[in-house]
């Protein structure tokens, strides 16, 4: 399917800025008309063949630039329960990256140039959001040490404690991405998303962006979510133990009950940048603007500026030590 403007017939896209459907041709808003039907991989506008891999759910036509949503990939078992529509426009994503990389002074000058920014695209990444109810038991030994002196004697008092904790935690929507294309470590760093902006799925939010369906069933990704839950439980327990000189865990167990799982699409801006024969990929959280990715670094530049900085420091210390007479003689 795709969304066509009732007024001019142009391809309507979802505008993160307006949070409305928008026609870039006639500036019309919310005047979309859904077109098309199942299994269409041919562009409505130009008739071009759209090559979609097995997980693609939305794509831009490489010939005319119109956006297509593949019906079978957003319906039935593939219909997401919820979607977090893009909050950041393309310009916002560029600003977020600019701000982030301003501090990293060794990025090449072409890094965010207009030409390379053509490679910045919005993508709805498939996620499973897991609810867990956690029961955790913890037992440990703690010691408190107090020392004092009296006359010619030194006293050390060691007090021993049993530490017992039983913790129940209700986790809601722990995310795990269900896409092989999205690196797990990066997606973890993208978190958190504010789910208050989630809405019931409607394919119109995908117009103007790329999209994917989950690459496998939810039980294939649950372990990653469990790890996050267990880590969180352990931290909560550790935070509740304080005032000891030493703590030794003697026993502990966390059981998780997965009581609900939802399939959702979350927004990510993806920017591919090639430099010195290597491809760098940057990810911007489409809701919060958090930027993840490593910048290319010119080692030579770092050394040059490092020497400049060291020179400044040397000058400062040298002058100070001359002024105040040999800090270290």
């Amino acid at each position: 399917m795709n969304f066509q403007c009732k007024n001019c017939g142009g391809n309507m896209v979802f505008s993160p800025k307006m949070q409305k459907m928008y026609c870039p041709y006639c500036d019309g808003t919310d005047c979309e008309e859904k077109r098309g039907d199942a299994s269409v991989t041919v562009c409505y506008s130009c008739g071009g063949e759209i090559s979609a891999d097995e997980f693609t759910s939305a794509k831009k036509c490489p010939y005319c630039g119109n956006y297509l949503i593949l019906d079978p990939r957003v319906e039935g078992v593939y219909e997401p329960k919820e979607i977090l529509p893009f909050k950041l426009s393309k310009e916002d994503a560029v600003k977020a990256m600019d701000k982030e990389f301003e501090k990293r002074i060794f990025t090449p000058s072409s890094f965010l140039s207009d030409k390379t920014l053509e490679n910045l695209e919005g993508m709805y990444v498939p996620f499973f959001l897991y609810d867990f109810f956690a029961n955790a038991d913890y037992t440990g030994k703690g010691t408190k040490i107090r020392a004092w002196r009296s006359g010619n004697y030194r006293y050390t008092e060691t007090s021993y404690y049993d530490i017992v904790r039983k913790l129940n935690v209700d986790f809601k929507k722990i995310p795990a991405d269900a896409s092989a294309k999205a690196p797990d470590s990066v997606m973890d760093l993208m978190e958190p998303y504010d789910y208050n902006d989630n809405v019931s799925f409607n394919p119109k939010y995908m117009s103007g962006f790329n999209g994917e369906v989950y690459n496998d069933s939810s039980d294939k990704f649950i372990e990653r979510a469990k790890e996050k839950a267990i880590k969180s439980v352990n931290t909560l327990i550790n935070d509740s133990i304080s005032g000891y000189s030493s703590v030794t865990r003697t026993d502990g167990n966390v059981s998780l009950n997965n009581d609900n799982t939802a399939y959702a699409l979350l927004p990510v801006w993806v920017y591919k940048y090639s430099w010195a024969g290597k491809e760098y990929v940057y990810y911007v959280n489409g809701q919060t603007g958090k930027v993840i990715g490593t910048t290319p670094i010119s080692a030579l530049k770092v050394v040059i500026f490092g020497i400049a900085k060291a020179g400044l420091v040397w000058g400062l210390v040298e002058l100070l030590s001359r002024l105040f007479g040999g800090l270290v003689s």
């Binding site: 002074i105 060794f106 000058s109 017992v164 129940n168 958190p192 909560l236 210390v317 002058l319």
Partner: protein, 312 residues
């Protein structure tokens, strides 16, 4: 290197730039008042022609070392003196200095000093009266501007009040500026550590230590290794920090996915079991050191001396 990088570099180091400028300005304004140590020609021929004993540096009144040992020690001292441009004088005694000290203190209206300082008075006066000092004899104006050198006085006589042998190392002129109490202590330690084996060897080691201490000074004044080391550390840290790729910080915490009020401790107990107390005999440490830094002081005659003593 593009403009953006340079701009960013200046921006992120603006405080450092300003600091350097301020300190540099301050340095220029104070430059005339800073002792011109680093510009001084440190190694030079001795210009003192007034020494009472001429080239003699070893005064073995206690008769502790043989003639030939004395000669070789004297030779060694002259060799070192030429390298470091300092006089090095060694005096051995074997007599009570109590009367001498009383006389000295009376002469200059000073309160009587304790037995460990008898040698100090002797050293200061011996230096001043005999006009030692590599550059020139010490001008008794209370400054450290003249009379470069060190003197070691070892009195083998055990003063009856304490039953100990006292040793004093006095520093004058440039040597006084260079030597801290710790350095003096160390040089005396070197002497003490080596004299049991052989007395002359102890004296030789002392001279070697002085040579080392003052040689280092000459290098130090040429440039400050401290500043270079700090700068090198900054360089290494800067490179490490900038070369290691940074991906992003974790911005979730333990509570991110916990529903509101969703974490509850059904059991939260810290049960006290027992305690034990250990008692260790550990009396406050009392100082057993018999040495002590003399630090800076003025002689009765008005000369400035640094110094420190040890006893055995």
């Amino acid at each position: 290197v593009n403009k953006r990088t340079v701009k960013q570099f200046i921006k992120s180091n603006i405080i450092l730039f300003i600091l350097v400028l301020i300190v540099f300005g301050y340095y220029l304004s104070k430059k005339s008042q800073i002792p011109r140590k680093s510009d001084e020609v440190l190694v030079h021929e001795s210009t003192n022609t007034q020494r009472v004993y001429g080239d003699k540096r070893v005064f073995d009144f206690a008769d502790e070392i043989s003639e030939s040992e004395e000669e070789s020690l004297e030779r060694y001292i002259h060799e070192v003196e030429n390298e470091i441009s300092m006089d090095i004088v060694i005096v051995t005694l074997n007599e009570s200095l109590k009367e001498y000290a009383e006389d000295y203190c009376n002469r200059y209206n000073m309160a009587m000093v304790s037995p460990d300082k008898y040698v100090m008075l002797y050293a200061d006066e011996f230096w001043e009266v005999n006009k030692f000092g590599y550059d020139k004899p010490q001008i008794l104006d209370g400054t450290q501007n003249s009379g470069d050198g060190v003197i070691l006085v070892d009195n083998l006589f055990r003063e009856p009040e304490t039953g100990r042998i006292y040793t004093w190392m006095a520093t004058t002129g440039r040597a006084e500026t260079r030597y801290s109490s710790e350095d003096i202590d160390y040089a005396l330690d070197v002497f003490y550590d080596n004299l049991d084996e052989d007395y002359t060897h102890g004296l030789m080691s002392f001279v070697t230590q002085v040579k080392y201490d003052l040689d280092t000074e000459i290098v130090d004044l040429a440039f400050k290794p401290f500043a270079v080391i700090v700068a090198a550390i900054v360089l290494v840290i800067y490179i490490i920090v900038n070369v290691i790729p940074r991906s992003g910080k974790v911005t979730t915490n333990a509570n991110t996915y916990v529903s509101p009020g969703g974490a509850n401790f059904a059991v939260h107990e810290d049960r006290f079991l027992y305690k034990n107390v250990t008692k260790v005999y550990d009396p406050p440490s009392s100082s057993s050191s018999s040495g002590g830094g003399g630090g800076h002081h003025s002689s009765g005659g008005g000369g400035s001396h640094g110094g420190g003593g040890h006893s055995r």
